[in-house]
Symmetry: C2
Subunit: 230 residues, 2 copies
DNA sequence: ACGTGCTTGTGAAAGCACGCACAAAGTGGG
DNA sequence: CCCACTTTGTGCGTGCTTTCACAAGCACGT
């Protein structure tokens, strides 16, 4: 907002930082909704649940967007992080598997404020195909390739049972989708150049159980809190 | 199965390893279902999507459960990992927020084969309270404390809208729950000694978008695939 | 009984990530 | 104009993670 950034970035943001940027972004949006115009690293770090030095180092990877003695301008920083994450363009998302989880995803309107548009819902069950979910018509899985092409889908979400996941993934890849978010409890096999991220409910529970057990039998010392899925 | 483990473990499994154990466990169960009795580190690593040296080092933290020249006995290793993760005991789980996501979680029967029992479903909406979901009666959120006590709930799952999440978390903590799995898009504030893990759909999408953008504009070199949520 | 072949378990090195602590830089008051 | 105060950006030490490479160990055939 002040002047044009001299050197926007120089290729090479650490993976750990990338994983935290969305958290900062959300905290910033909350602040903006409250009418806050400026925030210090300390304040933002508190809202995001991280150390302030870590926050500053993370932000320094995108450029020098703060003002010493003052802090960061909320609106400007939102824009810079959004741009870095690629949210200034629209991403077209297709969800396969319209069970409870698929429906939850489809109805989860606020996908990081904007940047993501759910372009299609697909399922194999003839009972589900043809229904309307989140004001979208559920189409049959056989039309996956056609849908990807016509809607320009660039991100595929897999919310099917484990058994069907690999097949769907392969079809996504075949159709040219190179970003996949997998909710099915299987390890997907994809060629190089395809980016797969996995979200697994039972894995998270198992990690919690491990720490709970550790606290229970070892006992004595408490465990650090605020663990994040990074 | 052979002989009793001499030194089961010696307190201090790296966090990164703990996060991968559930993945190994699932891969092992898949192998067992196929009737495989023995597997090499190479084979298991392939099924779990990791480097075989990493797998061996991970397993070495639990003890020496392999046989050189042969590999690991599937059944025995399943038992050891389950025990380490604390899955040999039963964990009682309560889910708050029975929207689409809450229902998806409630119906997701195969919680890592076993170890987790969904003990209660809670919601604030009078429209939902009293209904039956996954053969459980949905109770009102006001009975949270009573339910935690009577059912011995040790893990709380929050699947509410963001606005209600902190309140629910505080009530869980107040009631003595020290493990929380949070699906709401907010940073929870909890005292030390409480373990919070967060699963956030839109954060995962944003990370995918970042890599996709990077591939698109920078282009040239492909990006490593098979990223996991660790 | 012994050698061959395969696989584990682990020392060592390289790479990352985190957090402290401070210099650099900007603001505002006098 | 200068000084005191605030907050950013970062150099550096520390500890964790990953990967390589190989010695140690076990099974099996002869």
């Amino acid at each position: 907002m002040t002047s044009r950034p001299p050197r926007p970035r120089e290729r090479g943001i650490p993976e750990a930082t990338v994983a935290r940027l969305p958290v900062y972004l959300r905290a910033l949006q909350t602040l903006q909704d409250r009418g806050t115009a400026t925030v210090s690293s300390e304040g933002l770090a508190g809202a995001a649940g991280v150390n302030s030095a870590k926050l500053r180092k993370d932000l320094s990877h995108l450029g020098s967007y703060g003002t010493r003695g003052v802090g960061y301008e909320v609106e400007y920083l939102i824009y810079q992080i959004s741009r870095e994450l690629g949210l200034t363009q629209d991403w077209s998302v297709a969800i396969v598997g319209i069970g409870n989880l698929g429906r939850a995803l489809a109805n989860y309107g606020g996908f990081g404020t904007r940047g993501f548009r759910i372009a299609a819902l697909l399922d194999a069950d003839p009972e589900v195909v043809g229904r309307t979910v989140a004001s979208l018509n559920v189409r049959h899985i056989d039309s996956l390739e056609e849908v990807v092409r016509s809607k320009g889908v660039s991100i595929g979400v897999i919310a099917t049972p484990g058994g069907s996941a690999q097949g769907v993934a392969s079809r996504f890849v075949e159709a040219g989708v190179t970003s996949i978010l997998n909710f099915a409890p299987v390890v997907l096999n994809v060629p190089d150049g395809v980016d797969v991220r996995k979200v697994d409910l039972s894995i998270e529970l198992q990690i919690l159980a491990f720490h709970a057990q550790r606290r229970a039998d070892g006992d004595g010392h408490a465990h650090r809190s605020g663990l994040e899925v990074t």
